[in-house]
């Protein structure tokens, strides 16, 4: 054989050995993320569900609790958790009703669904979804859920993805409508374009009024909507993934940046009474999440390394640095 053939065999062997070495020595399941500031997940578990208030999360601990919904007491969220039998990609819970977004394999096609469950984690209904689960929220009165999925190959933008946002009645586990079917106005006049995308619903206390993102072209608008009237109006721009504070006066959101230092999203808070937008500068990393309010003055969000995620909290009024509030967890919901 020529030296070229030998060299080729050497390349194949080297690549094979490197691959085998990676499989052998790389940490198998999602372990600690690559930022170093993370504490380990608690070794012990709670044997009974904690009393309210607690934080519901999706567990990212690399054991049999992985992907399962877990409950961490609000006064000691970094400590032992109660692990439930339900497993999800994304979860939310309010007023006795929860929604769990799942991915399943059926033959060679992937299926997506939303499962509605109660306080005993019994599933009362399932709604099939048309794309990858992205965001879910339930109204504070528990009546309705807003779910955003990403659909591939559906957008009219060449390399784009598009979203679909669906409202669900939690009692019957039926679809109320899709936001794409609502009438939108801007400055009092009808507003419509074929490239509209809606995502990231957040509900007001009455379970009827809501906020969401409307993306059209390069601009991301904040819309305020009315479910019963099937209407939305644009109230601000440059707002993505809004989250309404428990007292319903402010909206926390992510805002895209594109500078010499890179691209990504930073967290901001918009005061709905004054429409003043303030950046939460204590968090310097890029955050791509719909935040959840821990209380009236703190927000929570996940940050992912290559192998796992932790939930961090950040003050919306002070300047103290962000801290890990629930290690190795994802998709937090405060259940009060």
């Amino acid at each position: 054989m020529t030296w070229r053939a030998w060299a080729f065999i050497a390349v194949i062997v080297a690549v094979g050995l490197a691959g085998a070495g990676y499989v052998r020595f790389a940490p198998g399941e999602p372990a600690v993320s690559n930022r170093g500031a993370v504490t380990d997940a608690p070794a012990t578990r709670l044997s009974v569900a904690p009393a309210r208030p607690f934080i519901m999360v999706r567990s990212m601990v690399a054991d049999d609790s992985f992907n399962h919904i877990a409950l961490a007491p609000l006064d000691a969220p970094e400590g032992p958790r109660f692990v439930t039998p339900l497993s999800c990609e994304r979860v939310f819970f309010a007023a006795g009703r929860g929604v769990c977004l799942t991915i399943g394999l059926e033959g060679i096609t992937t299926t997506y669904a939303a499962q509605v469950f109660d306080e005993q984690f019994a599933v009362s209904g399932t709604v099939p979804l048309t794309g990858m689960p992205s965001r879910v929220r339930i109204s504070p009165d528990g009546r309705r859920a807003g779910i955003t999925v990403f659909e591939t190959g559906h957008s009219y933008a060449e390399s784009g993805y598009s979203t679909r946002t669906t409202l669900i009645d939690t009692a019957s586990a039926r679809i109320i409508d899709h936001l794409e079917a609502f009438r939108v106005t801007r400055d009092g006049v009808p507003f419509h374009a074929v490239d509209f995308n809606f995502w990231g619903v957040t509900f007001a206390r009455d379970g009827n009024r809501f906020y969401a993102t409307l993306g059209s072209g390069e601009v991301k608008h904040l819309v305020e909507g009315d479910i019963d009237a099937r209407t939305m109006r644009v109230i601000a721009s440059d707002v993505e993934c809004p989250s309404l504070s428990p007292d319903n006066t402010r909206v926390a959101f992510k805002k895209a940046f594109n500078s010499a230092r890179g691209i990504g999203w930073h967290l901001h808070v918009l005061d709905l009474r004054t429409m003043v937008d303030s950046a939460l500068t204590a968090e310097t990393r890029s955050v791509d999440d719909q935040v959840e309010w821990l209380d009236d003055d703190h927000v929570m969000y996940h940050l992912t390394g290559t192998r796992g995620a932790d939930i961090w909290s950040l003050s919306t009024i002070g300047a103290e640095p962000p801290r890990v509030v629930v290690p190795l967890a994802y998709s937090p919901a405060v259940v009060r």
Binding site: A7, Y22, P133, F150, G153, Y156, Y161, D195
Partner: protein, 420 residues
């Protein structure tokens, strides 16, 4: 469906396709470049097919970030194609330039392992892959053309494109099998993709020859000089202008699939299957159509492909499209690619002296890429203003006019060649 003024009978063409000697005329070098492309396409499609799932479900990100990345570098990857070709001609090192492009793309796979959820690193990884793809395209096509006899260019490019399409079909399958064996181990997909890329690069570096390596470097010293040399050839500038004009009235795959979806005949979940179907037809027709382009004038096959695109527009305009319409669209779309992509490279290569192959192929790749961007913007604008059917109607009226003008211009350059 469409008719050629055949210079021979279809039976003679079929006989030619069945003849083993026809296949032997595809040189080992072309087959080996095909192997590199096949492995590289497996590598890139493995990642492309799992990327939405990885970003949205695993990292919890919004994939709209790709819109941001596209906005950052408009046209950069288009121009890179032209420079790749020019540099290849200047140095006569097509192989090394193509290898550099393949290497950058292969190394970008490692980027996914270390980028995690950092948007800037993800942007850098995606950009590196695209620049690598842009750089290698023209030198690779130049290598194929320099490795083939002028009368076999169509078939050579057909074989190469068929292998490319095969890789595009195997990649998603490989990723799916890996994730089924090791759920959520996206890192293993990145490692496997890197391995495929490296093996593809090794095939190119170790086994592909650079046919013109010993030839003296091109005499044209400047980039503008090279451009002038290219445009002084009527056959070349006519072909470049014609392909750009046709690309400017060609609706992208994404819009075609979206139209089918809006018609209600296919669901969003079935869209990946439409890609597979189109690719399958492309894979099967690339060689026959390529061989046909060595048998009848290449510009006729090229225009024939665009006639298929007109047929697609007309089918999409049918109200209450039956499911058979979807099959027809997939057949025609696969046929369109088979009759245009490799055939255009064969057409350009056949009209150029050896020392201008890279810049000519790079120029046409850049022109077509920019025209496609314009077509997407234009079609999107029409769609949002006047609706899908009106936008399709506009393109369905414009395309035949452009085909006729291009046919007239291309036929004229053919006559000039014969006269001189």
């Amino acid at each position: 469906m469409y008719s050629f003024d055949w210079t021979g009978s279809p039976r003679a063409w079929l006989t030619r396709m069945r003849d083993a000697r026809t296949w032997r005329r595809v040189t080992p070098n072309v087959w080996l470049i095909g192997v590199t492309s096949l492995l590289t396409d497996i590598s890139s499609e493995m990642i492309a097919s799992i990327l939405p799932l990885y970003l949205v479900v695993f990292l919890g990100m919004s994939p709209f970030m790709f819109g941001v990345i596209d906005g950052l570098y408009p046209g950069v990857t288009s121009l890179v194609r032209w420079f790749g070709g020019v540099a290849g001609d200047r140095s006569r090192r097509h192989k090394e330039l193509a290898a550099a492009g393949y290497a950058v793309s292969a190394l970008s796979r490692i980027g996914w392992l270390v980028a995690g959820a950092n948007p800037s690193w993800i942007a850098a990884t995606v950009t590196a892959d695209r620049v690598g793809k842009g750089v290698r395209t023209a030198p690779r096509d130049a290598l194929i053309s320099l490795s083939s006899a002028p009368q076999d260019l169509g078939q050579s490019f057909g074989v190469h494109r068929a292998m490319d399409a095969a890789g595009a079909m195997l990649g998603p399958l490989a990723a799916f099998v890996l994730l089924a064996l090791a759920p959520r181990r996206f890192d293993l997909v990145f490692v496997a993709s890197f391995a495929m890329g490296i093996i593809g690069l090794a095939v190119l570096l170790l086994f592909v020859r650079n046919p013109d390596a010993a030839a003296p470097p091109a005499v044209v010293a400047s980039t503008t000089g090279q451009l002038r040399a290219l445009l002084s050839q009527p056959k070349v500038w006519t072909a470049v202008a014609a392909s750009a004009a046709l690309a400017a009235v060609t609706v992208s795959d994404a819009f075609i699939y979206l139209s089918l979806q809006r018609q209600g005949v296919v669901s969003a979940a079935a869209i990946p299957l439409l890609y597979v179907g189109t690719n399958c037809v492309y894979l099967l027709l690339a060689v026959p159509f390529g061989a046909m382009a060595d048998y009848v004038p290449r510009w006729k096959v090229f225009l024939g492909g665009h006639v298929m695109m007109v047929a697609i527009y007309l089918i999409l305009l049918i109200p209450n499209l039956p499911i058979g319409g979807v099959a027809a669209v997939l057949l025609l779309l696969g046929g369109y690619y088979a009759a245009t992509d490799g055939v255009l490279s064969a057409l350009i290569s056949g009209a150029l002296p050896r020392e201008l192959r890279g810049s000519g192929l790079g120029l046409v790749a850049t022109a077509v890429n920019i025209a496609r961007l314009l077509a997407s913007v234009g079609f999107g604008w029409l769609w949002s203003r006047r609706g899908g059917p009106a936008a399709l109607m506009a393109f369905a009226i414009a395309m035949p006019v452009v085909i006729l003008v291009c046919g007239w211009a291309l036929r004229r350059t053919e006559r000039e060649i014969i006269e001189t």
